[in-house]
C-alpha cells in the first residue's frame, strides 16, 4: 500500500480585513465593496513561499531529530524566491535533511502541487514496498496582486506539506488522472509579478466546467470508487460556488464539499488543495474516501481512502491550529508594503548594504539555515554559532563541540527591547536574548509580534524567516527568528466585527 503518511500546513499569522481593503479603494473601485467580507491570510514581510513551505514541513515532521526517512523533496510553487538556486535545497538545509536527498523545485501551474504528489507517489512506488523511504511534497505560494483588483481580495498566502510513503499509510492512494491542456484562464510571464486574467464566465464554462469532470471521472474510474462514495471533495477555486457546482456535475454529494476557507484565508494558489486536504485529514474517519482536484493548464484529480492509521498521526499545529492563531490586520498600507506594492520612506538607515558573502554563508550554512549550534561534549555548554574553542571557565576546551539542533527547541526570553530607530519593515524592531531549553543562547529577532507580546520570561519557538532582502543584488537571506509560543491563539474575528 502506498499513500499519505503525514500532512501539515501553515498559515501566516496576519489576516487582512477585506473590509479595510475595499473601504480604502472604494473611491476608485466601488464595485469591490460587495467583496468586503472576512479576511485573507497575509504573509509577514519576512515570509515568502520558501519560509512558509519550511513551516508546513515542520508542522508535518514535528520535532523529531531523525528525518532520514525523507528521501525526496518536491517543492511546488509559482512564487519561489529564486529562479536559479534550488529553493527545495534551501528547505532541505532548514530541515537539516541529509545531503543525499533528491530535491527539486516544481512550478508552472496552479495544479503543480497535485502533480508533485503524483510524482512523489511514483518515486515511492519505485523505492519498493519494504522501505521507510518517503517523498515530501511541499507547496506554498505568496502571490502579488494589483491594488484594487479582485485577486487582492480573493488570494491568500499559505503552505502545505504532504509526506508520501509505504509504511504507516494513513490515506491509501487509489487512483488519479492528469490532463494537460493549454487552457489559459490566467498567466504570468517570466519576470512579471502579477497574474493576467481572462473572463470568469468563460473559465467556468469552457475550462473548469469541461476539463475537471473529465479528470475527476477518470480518477474515480481508476480508483474504482463511485462519485457518490466520496466523503470529502476538495476543489479550490476563487470563483463563488464553483466547488459546489463541480461536485454536482460529477455526482458528488453536496455535503462532501470541503470548506475552501474563502472567508478566512482566501485562495492560497498552488498549495491550496493540499492545505484543504491537510485540514480534511485531521478530521477524517477510517474508510472515508477523499477526492482532491485542482485546475490549471489542464486538470488533475487524486483519490485516497483513509486507513485505520489515521489516528496515529497528528501535525504539530495543524491547519485549524494555524487558523486559530490568526490576528486580524486592518492596515491596507501594511499589506501593500509587505507585498512590495508601496514603497515607504525608509530614512537613510534604510540605505545600509545587505550584501551576503556567499562563501561565508556556505561555511556556516548548518548554523544559519539549520540553526545547528555546537554542544561541548565535555561541559555540555551550547555555543551558537559553533566554534573550535568552547567556553569553560579557566580551561578552554578545543574541538569538543558536536552538532546540536536548536530549531525544534523552545526558549525563554532573557532580555529584550523594541526600537524604532533602525529601518525595519514592521516596526518597532523587536529583538533580545533567548535562552534555549537544554542550553544555548542567541541574541535574535522576534517576529509576528505586536507591542506587549514580549517580556522577560516569555516562551518562544523558532521560525525560519527572511533575515534580510538585498535589493541591490536581488538576494534573500534567511535565518531563524523567535515567535511567542501561542497554543491556541484567539479566533479570527468574523467579518464586520
Amino acid at each position: 500500500m502506498i499513500g499519505i503518511v503525514g500532512y501539515g500546513g501553515y498559515l501566516p499569522r496576519l489576516r487582512l480585513s477585506r473590509r479595510a481593503v475595499v473601504e480604502a479603494n472604494a473611491w476608485y473601485a466601488p464595485g469591490l465593496l460587495g467583496k468586503g467580507r472576512g479576511t485573507r491570510a497575509l504573509a509577514n514581510w519576512d515570509e515568502d513561499s520558501l519560509t512558509m513551505a519550511v513551516a508546513a514541513a515542520r508542522d508535518l515532521l514535528g520535532p523529531a531529530d531523525d528525518r532520514s526517512r525523507v528521501r525526496h523533496v518536491l517543492l511546488a510553487s509559482t512564487t519561489l524566491p529564486f529562479a536559479d538556486r534550488l529553493n527545495a535545497g534551501v528547505a532541505c538545509e532548514a530541515l537539516t535533511l541529509a545531503d543525499d536527498v533528491q530535491a527539486l523545485d516544481l512550478g508552472g501551474s496552479q495544479r503543480v502541487a497535485l502533480s508533485a504528489v503524483a510524482q512523489a507517489l511514483a518515486l515511492v512506488k519505485a523505492e519498493g514496498a519494504n522501505t521507510a523511504a518517503c517523498a515530501l511534497v511541499l507547496a506554498a505560494d505568496s502571490r502579488q496582486t494589483r491594488p484594487a483588483s479582485a485577486q487582492e481580495l480573493d488570494y491568500g498566502d499559505g503552505a502545505a506539506a504532504l509526506l508520501l510513503g509505504s509504511q504507516g499509510v494513513i490515506a491509501e492512494y487509489l487512483g488519479g488522472c492528469a490532463l494537460t491542456v493549454d487552457f489559459v484562464d490566467h498567466y504570468r510571464q517570466a519576470g512579471e509579478d502579477i497574474d493576467y486574467h481572462w473572463e470568469e464566465r468563460w473559465v467556468r464554462d469552457e475550462g473548469i466546467g469541461k476539463l475537471m469532470p473529465r479528470a475527476i471521472g477518470a480518477a474515480l474510474a481508476q480508483a474504482g470508487v463511485a462519485a457518490a462514495q466520496i466523503d470529502h471533495f476538495i476543489f479550490p477555486s476563487s470563483f463563488q460556488k464553483m466547488d459546489q457546482q463541480l461536485a454536482k456535475a460529477c455526482g458528488v454529494r453536496a455535503e462532501a464539499v470541503a470548506d475552501a476557507l474563502a472567508d478566512s484565508v482566501g485562495d492560497t494558489g498552488a498549495p491550496h488543495a493540499l492545505l484543504l486536504l491537510a485540514r480534511v485529514l485531521q478530521g477524517a474517519q477510517p474508510g472515508q474516501h477523499v477526492l482532491v482536484a485542482q485546475f490549471g493548464s489542464g486538470a488533475q484529480a487524486l483519490v485516497f481512502r483513509v486507513t485505520e492509521a489515521i489516528a496515529q498521526f497528528r501535525p504539530s499545529v495543524g491547519v485549524d491550529g494555524w487558523l486559530a492563531r490568526g490576528a486580524e490586520e486592518r492596515n491596507y498600507t501594511k499589506f501593500l508594503s509587505f507585498k512590495d506594492q508601496l514603497r515607504l520612506e525608509r530614512g537613510m538607515r534604510g540605505e545600509q548594504d545587505r550584501k551576503t558573502a556567499l562563501s561565508t554563508a556556505y561555511r556556516h550554512k548548518a548554523a544559519i539555515l539549520g540553526l545547528v549550534a555546537g554542544r561541548c561534549s565535555v561541559t555540555g555548554q551550547v555555543h551558537f554559532p559553533p566554534s573550535r574553542i568552547s567556553y569553560a571557565q579557566g580551561k578552554p576546551l578545543q574541538d569538543t563541540q558536536l552538532p546540536h539542533k536548536l530549531a525544534d527547541r523552545q526558549g525563554t526570553v532573557l532580555s529584550w527591547s523594541a526600537e524604532s530607530l533602525s529601518f525595519h519593515r514592521a516596526p518597532p524592531h523587536h529583538y533580545g536574548q533567548v535562552d534555549f531549553d537544554g542550553g544555548g543562547r542567541i541574541l535574535m529577532e522576534f517576529t509576528d509580534v505586536a507591542k506587549g507580546d514580549i517580556a522577560s520570561g516569555t516562551r518562544v519557538e523558532m521560525h525560519f524567516r527572511i533575515k534580510d532582502l538585498d535589493e541591490l543584488r536581488g538576494y534573500t537571506r534567511y535565518f531563524w527568528k523567535a515567535v511567542p509560543v501561542r497554543s491556541t491563539g484567539t479566533p479570527t474575528p468574523k467579518a464586520g466585527d
Partner: protein, 400 residues
C-alpha cells in the same frame, strides 16, 4: 599579580575641543583644538613628543583609517602614530598604550588623542556599521539603544523592580547629568531638563526615551603623559597620576553560557575589581571622590553604579533617587555632564573623562568644581552588555 602602573605615570597636559554638532569643524579641526590646549597645558614643543596613539572608531565617516590622519593634521615630527580602535572604549585604549610606553621607559613623553566626527552622516543617532561577513547573516540589525535597553528588562526581572519606578530612576540619572552639563561650556547639551520631559519623550528603544540616550557628538580630546620625575623636573605641581588602569574584554561567557542574567556588565565588575586592587582601594564608595562613567544610556549608568561597587546589589535605584550621585551627593557622577550632555564622540570619550578628572583634581573645573576631590574613577565601555570591552582608570593626586 603584576606590579601595575600606580604612580608610575603622570598627566602632563589635557585638552578637549568643544563637543557638539560641530557643523563648522572637520575632524582635523577638532584634533587641532584638543591638541593645542593639551600642548599648552603641558608646556612642551612638538619635538618633545616621542610617540602618539590615535583613537577613532568609525571607518566610513570621520578621518578614515590608520595613524596618518593625526600625523598629518597636527604635522607631528614623524613620530610613530598608531591608530587604535576598541568600540567606544577606544579613547581609553589610546592612553593605555601611551601610559604603558612611558611606564616601560620606551618614551619620555607620549600623547593620546581621540576624535570622532559623527555628524557627517545626514541622520540622527550613531552611524550604521557593518560588522564583518558572518554576523550580519544571523545577528539582528541591532542598534545601540536596544542593545543597552535590554539591561532594563533583565534588571527589572532580577530585582523585581516595577517598570515605572525604574523609569523614574533612569530619568533621574539624565536629569542630574543635564544639571551638570548646564555648567560646562564645552558640553554638547547645556540645558537642564525636568522629569516630565523625560517621561514624556518619544521612545527610542523600550523603555528608553530620547532623554535616556546620550548625545551623538563631534569632538576630540587629548592627553599627554610622562613620568612623574620628568614632570617635576619641568616644574609641574599637583601632579595627577594613574593609580590603576585595567581593561577587561568579554570571552563569550555572557553569550555562550546560560549563566549571565543580562542585568549587569560582567567585564565592568572584573575590571573594577582589578583596578581597586591595583590602586589599593578597599571601600570604593568611601574612597572614590567622583566618577565619570560610560553613560551611553541612563540604564547603563544605573547598573554601572552596582558594577563599580558604588551601590550595593539592587540598590542603585534607591541611591539614584536619593541623590547619592548628584553634584552635591556622596559620590558625584558625571560632574561634567557625562556622555549624556558633554557628548559622546566615540573615539574621544575615554580621554574626555580623563580631561575632567585632571581639571577637578587640580581645582581647575570652574563653576562645576567639586570640593577637594582626591581620587577619581573613569569607566569607559565599548560594545554592548552581552559582549564588550570595559576600561577602568583610577586617578589621583600624587601621594593620594
Amino acid at each position: 599579580m603584576a606590579a601595575g602602573i600606580k604612580d608610575k605615570v603622570a598627566i602632563l597636559g589635557v585638552g578637549c575641543s568643544k563637543f557638539g554638532e560641530r557643523w563648522d569643524a572637520s575632524p582635523e579641526d577638532l584634533m587641532v583644538e584638543a591638541y593645542n590646549e593639551a600642548m599648552a597645558d603641558a608646556g612642551i614643543a612638538p619635538e618633545q613628543l616621542d610617540a602618539a596613539w590615535f583613537s577613532t572608531h568609525m571607518d566610513d565617516v570621520g578621518t578614515g583609517r590608520g595613524g596618518t590622519p593625526m600625523g598629518i593634521a597636527l604635522r607631528l615630527p614623524n613620530i610613530g602614530v598608531t591608530r587604535v580602535e576598541n568600540f567606544c572604549a577606544g579613547g581609553s585604549e589610546a592612553f593605555r598604550a601611551a601610559v604603558y610606553a612611558v611606564a616601560a621607559g620606551a618614551c619620555d613623553i607620549a600623547i593620546a588623542l581621540g576624535v570622532e566626527k559623527l555628524k557627517d552622516t545626514g541622520y540622527g543617532g550613531l552611524p550604521v556599521t557593518t560588522p564583518g561577513t558572518l554576523i550580519p547573516q544571523w545577528y539582528p540589525n541591532a542598534v545601540a539603544p536596544a542593545n543597552f535597553a535590554q539591561l532594563a528588562s533583565a534588571y527589572q526581572r532580577r530585582h523585581g523592580i516595577d517598570a515605572a519606578l525604574l523609569k523614574r530612576a533612569i530619568s533621574r540619572v539624565s536629569i542630574k547629568s543635564h544639571a551638570n552639563g548646564a555648567k560646562n561650556p564645552k558640553a554638547h547639551l547645556q540645558k537642564p531638563i525636568t522629569e516630565e520631559q523625560c517621561l514624556k519623550a518619544p521612545t527610542i528603544a523600550e523603555p528608553l526615551g530620547l532623554f535616556d540616550c546620550c548625545g551623538v557628538s563631534d569632538g576630540a580630546a587629548a592627553v599627554i603623559v610622562t613620568r612623574p620625575d620628568i614632570a617635576r623636573a619641568m616644574g609641574k605641581r599637583d601632579l595627577v597620576t594613574f593609580k590603576a588602569l585595567q581593561v577587561s574584554t568579554s570571552n563569550g561567557w555572557e553569550m555562550h553560557s546560560n549563566e549571565w542574567d543580562g542585568s549587569y556588565v560582567h567585564t565592568a565588575r572584573i575590571a573594577a575589581r582589578r583596578a581597586y586592587a591595583e590602586a589599593g582601594i578597599t571601600n570604593p564608595r568611601a574612597q572614590i571622590s567622583m566618577s565619570e562613567v560610560h553613560d551611553c544610556f541612563s540604564i547603563t549608568e544605573l547598573v554601572t553604579m552596582e558594577d563599580l561597587g558604588l551601590s550595593a546589589e539592587g540598590q542603585a535605584v534607591r541611591d539614584v533617587l536619593d541623590g547619592v550621585f548628584d553634584a552635591d551627593g556622596a559620590v558625584p557622577c558625571q560632574i561634567d555632564g557625562g556622555l549624556k550632555c558633554f557628548g559622546h564622540p566615540i573615539g574621544a570619550s575615554g580621554i574626555r573623562m580623563l580631561y575632567e578628572m585632571v581639571l577637578q583634581l587640580q581645582g581647575r573645573a570652574g563653576p562645576r568644581q567639586l570640593k577637594n576631590p582626591t581620587i577619581g574613577l573613569t569607566h569607559n565601555l565599548g560594545g554592548q552588555p552581552s559582549q564588550n570591552v570595559c576600561a577602568i582608570s583610577i586617578l589621583g593626586l600624587e601621594g593620594a
